[in-house]
Every structure is written in structure tokens, then in C-alpha cells.
């Protein structure tokens, strides 16, 4: 069966696998700098996957999409994050809530769930990249897991952005991307969101002297 898959599909699958791998790496990575690096790499892989899809299908808006990803996920957001990390002087994350091997195990379980859920859908897809839908879902879930387990505000945000990567991968793999206007809107939202978050980090540090989200557990009912 493998032989029948065209090269472009094999490439996209490869990049998807890389994205998944990077998601795992981010789950395990504790140093903030490296985390941002990994995020940028993930963005790059996504960009390349979109590009391959664009080349192989010849759809114009996928080129735009790839370009947008490059601009936003590979250049703009990592740059903003680097600046934040430097200005806020964040070195590494504190010990995660659960130890890393356990998280990894949970992550693997999630990947299995995601594949299982996506399987019936993938079979319906006519695109060359249908197998990657499961990977995309897995990336979303891993990002989710990362957000749950991290304790620094900034790493939560990286997790959030990684989740967006997973969503874009899904969009690309399942349907060759969303309509242009939607993708632009999404990109704008992400960018604005990031800027607002940047402002936010400073406010949080001013108020709490730290970006540790454990300081933000005052509002509760119990």
C-alpha cells in the first residue's frame, strides 16, 4: 500500500509526524528558551507541510496560508516570545505538576485516543493527506495536556499556540485549508491575542512579581 502513496503525501505525513514529535518534545521541555525554539520549529514544519500541499494540489490560497504560517508562527510569534522571555527574565519552568515520564505516558495514551477518534473520518477523506487528521487531533490534545501540566503563564501560552498549530494542520490535512478570509481572521486574532498577552505578562509580573500561575489561585469558592 505504501507504494501507492504519492511523494507529496509521504512528505506531508513526514512533516505531520515531525510536528507530533515536536509536540512531545515541548511536553517534556522545561527550559523556556528551548520551548520557544521548539515552537518555532513546529511552526516551520507546519509551514512546510502546507507548502507541500500547495505545490502538490496547486491551490493558490494554500500558498498564502503557508506564507502566513511562516510569518506568524515561525517569525512573529517566536520573536515576541523571545523578547518576552528576555524582558521578563524567565529561565525555566518550575517542576511540572506531574513528573515528565508520567506525562509522556499519558501523552501516548492521548495519541492513541486521537487516532482512534479520527480513524473513521480519515477514511472518508479524499485528500492526499487524510492520515494526518489523527496527528492533528493528537497535537491538539498534547498541547492541551501541556497547558494543564505547566505552571508558568508563558509556557501555557506556548501550549495554546501549539494547539493552534494542530488546528492549522487539521485544516490543511483534511480540507486543504479554510477559506482565505477565515484564515486571515484567525491569523489576526492570534496575533492580537499574542500582543494582548504580552501586555498581560507585564501586568501580571507587576502585580505578582512572578509569572508563576500558582500565584493566581485566589479566586475560588471552596
Amino acid at each position: 500500500m505504501t507504494a501507492s502513496i504519492p511523494l507529496s503525501a509521504q512528505l506531508i505525513n513526514l512533516f505531520a509526524a515531525v510536528i507530533l514529535l515536536l509536540a512531545f518534545a515541548m511536553l517534556a521541555q522545561r527550559r523556556m528558551h528551548s520551548l520557544v525554539n521548539l515552537f518555532a520549529l513546529q511552526g516551520l514544519a507546519l509551514c512546510l507541510a502546507t507548502l507541500v500541499a500547495a505545490v502538490s494540489t496547486g491551490q493558490v490560497h494554500l500558498y498564502f496560508s503557508a506564507g502566513l504560517t511562516l510569518l506568524l508562527k515561525v517569525l512573529a510569534l517566536p520573536w515576541i516570545l523571545y523578547r518576552l522571555v528576555r524582558q521578563l527574565n524567565i529561565k525555566g519552568d518550575v517542576e511540572a505538576l506531574i513528573n515528565i515520564p508520567t506525562i509522556m505516558l499519558v501523552g501516548i495514551g492521548l495519541v492513541m485516543v486521537a487516532f482512534n477518534v479520527a480513524l473513521p473520518i480519515s477514511e472518508l477523506s479524499h485528500t492526499i493527506t487524510r492520515g494526518t487528521l489523527g496527528i492533528a487531533l493528537a497535537v491538539v490534545m498534547l498541547a492541551f495536556l501541556m497547558m494543564i501540566t505547566r505552571q508558568k503563564a508563558i509556557s501555557q501560552v506556548v501550549g495554546f499556540l501549539s494547539m493552534e498549530n494542530g488546528l492549522f494542520l487539521a485544516a490543511t490535512s483534511a480540507t486543504y485549508g479554510m477559506p482565505m478570509v477565515v484564515e486571515l481572521g484567525i491569523a489576526l486574532d492570534v496575533l492580537v491575542g499574542m500582543i494582548i498577552l504580552g501586555v498581560f505578562f507585564f501586568q501580571i509580573r507587576d502585580q505578582f512579581d512572578s509569572l508563576d500561575i500558582r500565584h493566581m489561585e485566589k479566586l475560588k469558592d471552596s
Binding site: I121, G193, F200
Partner: protein, 483 residues
């Protein structure tokens, strides 16, 4: 001039304008005037739709039918009254030193932008743009929630941002899946996310994908609606933001998010076996209702308590839409309207009450009737209205929901009874001593903006006793559209 374009451009332009001119003495008036303009445009649009039927705008990207025009009118109206209320309220906040001029500028511009995003979300025909607008609504309100820059408000805003961001990301996944399903029927042309097109082919959509898509959409937008257990951001954001923001969050944002779910439900119903989407919504609705009722009994902060009350009502509305059918849908729509009007009125009254007593802790608020009878009566009547006491309109919808549930889903009624009973006891036992009783607090010199409170309550009262025929027709049409 096209009312639709006018309605969307007024808040956008005035938002920009308010950012540019900064905080001047007349800025609050500009805010009100802009809201009034939006409201008038919305009224004009409504009249147009009622007279001529549904229409498109900007190609097919926007679509206004009897379902959303009703939300548009409601949103514009509550937006107007809230802007009227926020004038005196924010002035008092500034005098108390809680807010500075730049923040007031931020408040007003963000307020207008928020109105823009919500109106856009309501009127768009494109489910992708709907998502974008919902996300934008979150972004604009995050800054409003953290307006006081206190630790608590920052924490609330952070939670709001992250939880809603994550939630909405799932909605995006759902949208992608929906697009995926639609593309198989409608082709890769750009109209595969247009709701009008989707509705035409809804029965041909692939059930497996639609089920998955609806789950993601429900969880995603449900986070914004405040469905338990995805509701955790809601009480924090409501309690820590300025009161006008609480009023619009509760009165409008939740509605818009629920509206998004409703649009998706119509599609899911077409593609999926009978009752699938409905049962999910019934489950969420009941769970939310019950949980919120018990949360209510432990509240100390007045705004937080009413935030939980919003969760409770959202649960009830979700339950109503989950039951489906003309009566329940009608009741759901009516309840959304009533809840918006009543809850924002309550928040107005609560806002003044907290300003006068300088605390949000209920045990320290006493004798409002003595401090200012209008505020006292406003809060008391508002509370009774929200608790479903006739002759207020909330009762009309609860009446239909409960009787319909008894007839068609009798097993749910014990849960409804329990939840409504607990909610009643919890809220009323706290509000009553706040309103009644003795107090040492003196009357404050500020004149409260009490008109919006009684305007809202007056409408709610009227709708409880008499729903004008055109409104009825409109509701019916919308209810029919929901299936």
C-alpha cells in the same frame, strides 16, 4: 444608507474614534450616542427584515434572518442601556480613584469594539467568521475584565483568556471538521462554510464527521456559554470586571455564544439521527443547572452570585433548546431575551449598590431600601424576576419550559425542581437582607443611573403579561427555523 452597514460601522468607527480622542468630558456622551446610533440602525434593520424577510449583505458573507435579527436588536438595546448606565457609574469609579483616564479610554473603545464583534458574530453567514468574531469578542473583553489591574482582576482575566481561548480553539477544530464535511457535498468553493448553503444540504452531511464536529463545537462555544464543567472562568470574570462589563458579558456574550451553538445544532440535527444533538444539550443543560444551583448557595460576593445565576439560566436555556420543538425553542428564545434584560438590570442595580456600600461582600451590604429605595426595589424586583416570579417575563419562559419538560421529558423534572428550588433559596436568602433591614450607611451624593434598571424591568414585566403580535410572529419564525 444600508442599515446593516451602518450598524456594523458605527461601533467600529466610534471605537477607533474613542481611542484617538482619549478621555474627554464628552467621551461618555459619545459612547452613548454611538450606542444609540447602533441601536437605531439595528431597529431599522429589524424593521426591514420584518417587512421584507431575510437578506444577505456583503455578498453572502452576512445573512440576517428572523433568528439573528432578534438577537441583534436585543444586543443593540442592552448595549445602549449599558452605555447609559456606565456613564455615571464610571464617573463614580473615577472619583473613587479606582480608574484612571487612560483606562476609561480603553474601556470605552473596547466597549464599542466588543459591540462590533458581537454584532458581527450574530449577523455573519460564515461559520468561520463567526469563530473569528467570537474570538475577537473574547480578546476585547479580556482587557475590560482586567480594567482595575488589581491582582484579582488580572487573575480573572488570565483565566478568562486561557480557558476561553482553549475552548474556542476546540470550536475551531469543530469548524474545520464541519468544513470538511461540507466540502464533500458543496465542493471546495468558498461557500462551504456559509450557513445558508449548509442548511440546504444539511441532510447530506456525513454523520460521523458531524457528530465529532458538533461535540467540538458544543464544548468550544459551550465554554463561552458557561456550561458546566466548562464554566470556571465565568464567575471570576463577572465578579472582578467593572459592573457594566459584567452586565454585557452576562446579558450579551453568553447569548451570542449560545446563538453559535444553535446555528450549529440546526446543521447537526439535519445530519444526525433524531435527538443526538438535543440529548447532548439536555445533558449539559441539566448538569449546568444543577451544579450552578448548588454553587449559588455558597456565594459571598454579590456579583459572583449573579454570575452563577447566569450559568444556571444558560443551563436552563440549553436544556430548552435541547428538548427542541416549537414550544421549547420559543421558550428558549424568550428566556434568552428575558435573561439578558433582567440580568443586566440586576447588574446595574448591584453596581450602584456596591458603589454605595463600597463592598461586593453581601454580608456587608444591608438596608438598600433605606439607602436608596429605587436601588433597593430595583434589586429586589430584578431578583424576583430572575428567580422566575410572575408577572415578570422570565416566568413565562420557565412556565413553558417546565410544562413542556413535564409532558415530554418527565424524568428531568425532579432535577429541574431541585435545581430551581435550591437556586431560589440561595439567591433570595442573600438578597433579602441586602435590600431590607437597617443600615448605618448614609445616602451617597451621587445620583444613580437608575433609568436603565427600570426600563429593563418594565420591558420584562410587559413581556410577562403581553407579547406584542409582531414579536410573537418573529419568535415563532425563529423557533421554527431551529426545528
Amino acid at each position: 444608507m444600508d442599515f446593516f452597514i451602518l450598524m456594523l460601522s458605527i461601533p467600529l468607527v466610534s471605537g477607533a474614534l474613542l481611542t484617538i480622542v482619549g478621555e474627554r468630558d464628552w467621551a461618555p456622551n459619545l459612547n452613548v450616542i454611538a450606542s444609540l446610533g447602533t441601536f437605531l440602525a439595528a431597529v431599522g434593520l429589524t424593521g426591514e427584515i420584518v417587512a421584507n424577510g431575510p437578506r444577505f449583505a456583503v455578498g453572502e458573507q452576512f445573512f440576517i434572518d428572523s433568528l439573528n435579527v432578534f438577537f441583534v436588536a436585543l444586543t443593540a438595546f442592552v448595549g445602549l442601556t449599558t452605555s447609559i448606565f456606565s456613564g455615571p457609574y464610571m464617573r463614580i469609579e473615577r472619583d473613587r480613584g479606582r480608574l484612571t483616564k487612560p483606562r476609561l479610554r480603553l474601556y470605552k473603545s473596547m466597549y464599542q469594539l466588543f459591540m462590533f464583534t458581537m454584532l458581527a458574530a450574530l449577523t455573519t453567514n460564515n461559520l468561520g467568521i463567526l469563530w473569528v468574531a467570537m474570538e475577537a469578542a473574547t480578546l476585547t473583553t479580556v482587557l475590560l475584565v482586567s480594567l482595575y489591574r488589581s491582582p484579582a482582576s488580572l487573575e480573572a482575566a488570565w483565566k478568562y483568556f486561557i480557558l476561553c481561548g482553549v475552548g474556542i480553539a476546540q470550536a475551531l477544530f469543530g469548524t474545520v471538521l464541519l468544513y470538511f464535511a461540507a466540502e464533500r457535498v458543496l465542493g471546495a468553493a468558498g461557500n462551504a462554510l456559509l450557513w445558508t448553503h449548509l442548511v440546504d444540504v444539511k441532510s447530506q452531511l456525513e454523520p460521523t464527521i458531524m457528530a465529532l464536529s458538533f461535540i467540538f463545537l458544543l464544548v468550544g462555544y459551550g465554554t463561552k456559554v458557561g456550561l458546566a464543567p466548562l464554566h470556571n472562568w465565568l464567575p471570576d470574570a463577572h465578579a472582578e470586571g467593572p459592573t457594566p462589563v459584567s452586565a454585557v458579558l452576562s446579558g450579551l456574550l453568553l447569548n451570542v455564544a449560545l446563538y453559535a451553538i444553535l446555528r450549529c445544532k440546526v446543521l447537526a440535527d439535519g445530519a444526525l439521527p433524531e435527538g443526538y444533538a438535543g440529548n447532548l444539550m439536555i445533558g449539559f443543560g441539566l448538569f449546568t443547572l444543577l451544579l450552578a444551583a448548588f454553587f449559588l448557595s455558597r456565594q459571598k460576593d454579590v456579583k459572583r452570585m449573579f454570575a452563577y445565576s447566569s450559568i444556571e439560566h444558560m443551563g436552563l436555556i440549553t436544556f430548552a433548546f435541547g428538548m427542541g420543538g416549537p414550544i421549547a425553542n420559543f421558550a428558549g428564545l424568550l428566556h434568552m431575551t428575558m435573561h439578558s434584560l433582567t440580568k443586566s438590570a440586576i447588574f446595574f442595580a448591584v453596581g450602584h449598590a456596591t458603589q454605595k456600600t463600597e463592598t461586593q461582600l453581601m454580608e456587608h451590604i444591608r438596608g438598600l431600601m433605606k439607602i436608596n429605595p429605587l436601588i433597593g426595589w430595583g434589586l429586589m424586583l430584578g431578583t424576583l424576576a430572575i428567580l422566575g416570579m410572575p408577572p415578570f417575563g422570565v416566568f413565562a419562559s420557565e412556565f413553558m419550559i417546565l410544562t413542556h419538560a413535564m409532558k415530554h421529558f418527565p424524568w428531568t423534572t425532579p432535577i429541574l425542581l431541585l435545581a430551581l428550588g435550591v437556586a431560589f433559596a440561595s439567591i433570595f436568602s442573600k438578597v433579602q437582607p441586602m435590600v431590607f433591614g437597617e443600615t448605618e450607611a448614609k445616602r451617597l451624593p451621587h445620583a444613580p443611573a437608575i433609568t436603565p434598571v427600570f426600563l429593563h424591568l418594565g420591558i420584562v414585566l410587559m413581556l410577562g403579561l403581553y407579547i406584542p403580535p409582531y414579536l410573537t410572529r418573529w419568535f415563532h419564525e425563529a423557533a421554527r427555523m431551529l426545528g
